[in-house]
């Protein structure tokens, strides 16, 4: 990008400046238009929902309505939930999801790279991993509850099993599909096997791994929430379960809304980290995701 800006500005100063100004304004207008349309869609959706609920087209007992959901969120914020303050619930869920995610990612990356590099291990463990992957892992959540109790450990465990597999498969694939020329070049330049793994295979596989990190953080949240939903003492999943138990539809939606915001924020953080880490990539493919 520094290549473009420097020479383009130099020749034909006056007309180029105005033209680039016009272009910039057009781009800004387009951006604003998109934002306005997005906000419009949200307002229309919420408005229609509210109107339908108030006029009785849909039953507010089952479907609730935006104003009640907002009131519920506001009540949680100001007065706390039945289980304690709202921040504490969010913190609990995030803590479980994050621990599960970190453990799952580390295990997935290490095992994925190891199996991707060492043929023998891949041949031995390949079938077992396929079998484990075939199990719908969310059904393990009740088992973990029995093993690890109502505390965070059981939620961390279900987050780990959900996170591990996508990360593992991506790291494995990434390690397998490293450009053979790069490996050959590194070996000719004098790298031994360890250096090839650390300085060629791992950097080359990071693109693959990062793709799975985005998806897998969502999985970690799912693991934590489902675990809490099944049985817990604290957390957003428990709030959903509690609201459902008292036929409080607004409570279920409110908890969902909070979850969505939390997920979006963490996703944003990940994207930011990724941009910092992948400065060596051409901008167009880095922004593609």
């Amino acid at each position: 990008m520094p290549l473009e800006t420097a020479p383009a500005a130099a020749p034909a100063a006056a007309p180029a400046a105005t033209r680039s100004e016009v272009r910039e304004r057009a781009a800004r207008n387009r951006r604003n238009g998109v934002f306005a349309a997005r906000a419009g869609v949200l307002v229309a959706f919420l408005g229609l929902w509210e109107i339908c609920a108030r006029t009785g087209v849909i039953d507010p007992f089952n479907f609730s309505q935006p104003s009640r959901i907002w009131a519920q969120i506001w009540q949680w914020i100001t007065h706390g939930t039945a289980q304690g303050s709202l921040g504490e619930q969010i913190g609990y869920t995030l803590y479980e999801a994050l621990s599960g995610w970190v453990v799952g990612v580390v295990a997935g990356v290490l095992l994925g790279i190891a199996l991707g590099r060492i043929r023998f291990l891949a041949d031995v463990f390949g079938p077992y991993i396929k079998v484990l992957n075939a199990i719908p892992r969310i059904v393990l959540a009740p088992i973990f509850l029995i093993w690890f109790g109502l505390g965070p450990a059981s939620k961390v465990a279900s987050a780990v099993v959900l996170v591990f597999f996508p990360v593992f498969f991506n790291a494995f694939q990434g390690a397998r599909e490293v450009d053979r020329n790069l490996v050959a070049n590194a070996r000719i330049l004098g790298a031994d096997n360890r250096k090839v793994t650390l300085q060629v295979v791992i950097p080359a596989a990071t693109t693959w791994i990062f793709t799975s990190l985005h998806v897998s953080f969502g999985f970690a949240l799912i693991g934590a929430i489902v675990g809490e939903y099944i049985g817990a003492t604290k957390g957003l999943g428990l709030m959903v379960a509690a609201a459902q138990g008292t036929f409080n539809a607004a409570g279920v939606y409110a908890a969902m809304t909070i979850l969505a915001v939390v997920a979006l924020l963490t996703e944003g953080l990940l994207t930011f980290a990724e941009k910092r880490l992948f400065r060596w990539k051409p901008a167009d493919s880095g922004d593609g995701r």
Partner: protein, 277 residues
Amino acid sequence: MVHVSLHKAGAVPAIELTGATKRFRTPSGTLHTAVRDLDLTVAPGEFVAVVGPTGCGKSTTLTLVSGLEEPTEGEVKVYGGSVDGINPNVGFVFQQDAVFPWRTVLSNVTAGPRFRGVPADEAREKARDWLARVGLAAFEDRYPHQLSGGMRKRVALAQTFVNDPKILLMDEPFSALDVQTRALMSDQLLELWAGTGSSVVFVTHDLDEAIALADRVVVMTAGPATVKEVFTVDLPRPRTVEAVRLEPRFVELYREIWASLGEEVRITRERGAGRAA
């Protein structure tokens, strides 16, 4: 450069292939012979170009010398020693981009010395020296994707030369570049090579390039490859690619070698046509 015959009389050849054969197992399970019964000797300091029809097994010859692959039969020797794994005296410039995209230009060039345990400061100093020689001193902080194809190739050259290889293997290194850049790169290669006294094996399908660069041109047969004929290029050095091309002796050599090479190209093409039909 000293004449080839002198080297032959002298001591140990830099590279010596005797009866080298390489077979690969294809995905469908059949055996494919890439190189058969190949004899080739390269003297120290000699520049040998290898030409042959597309896909005949020229590159395989290089991987045998580098130690990336082992011969199925026959022997490959470098400075009298049998090739067993990768030889630290060998440098290899690949056809495709093989610079590390996640490393800056400087870091790419320091990679070799660092892999070999040279301290970081010393490696950086050597790398800067070679970057200056290939004219990329101002670009050391760039990433490869920010450079043009020709610049990336120059990074690859610096990356290889910084290890002071006694044997330089080049696998169609400039084939992806446009004609003008290729001529510039050829001149630059001759310049860089002139001071080093290393032996070069340069694989190409471009006969012009082969004659302009080399002391000897080896013509390979249609695959499986073996040496068909060897021509000595008696053009004086130092050469520049654009000038040497206009000399009558160049044209003469071109005609001679093409008579030999053209036949193999025809055979390859007819085979391809037969397979397509």
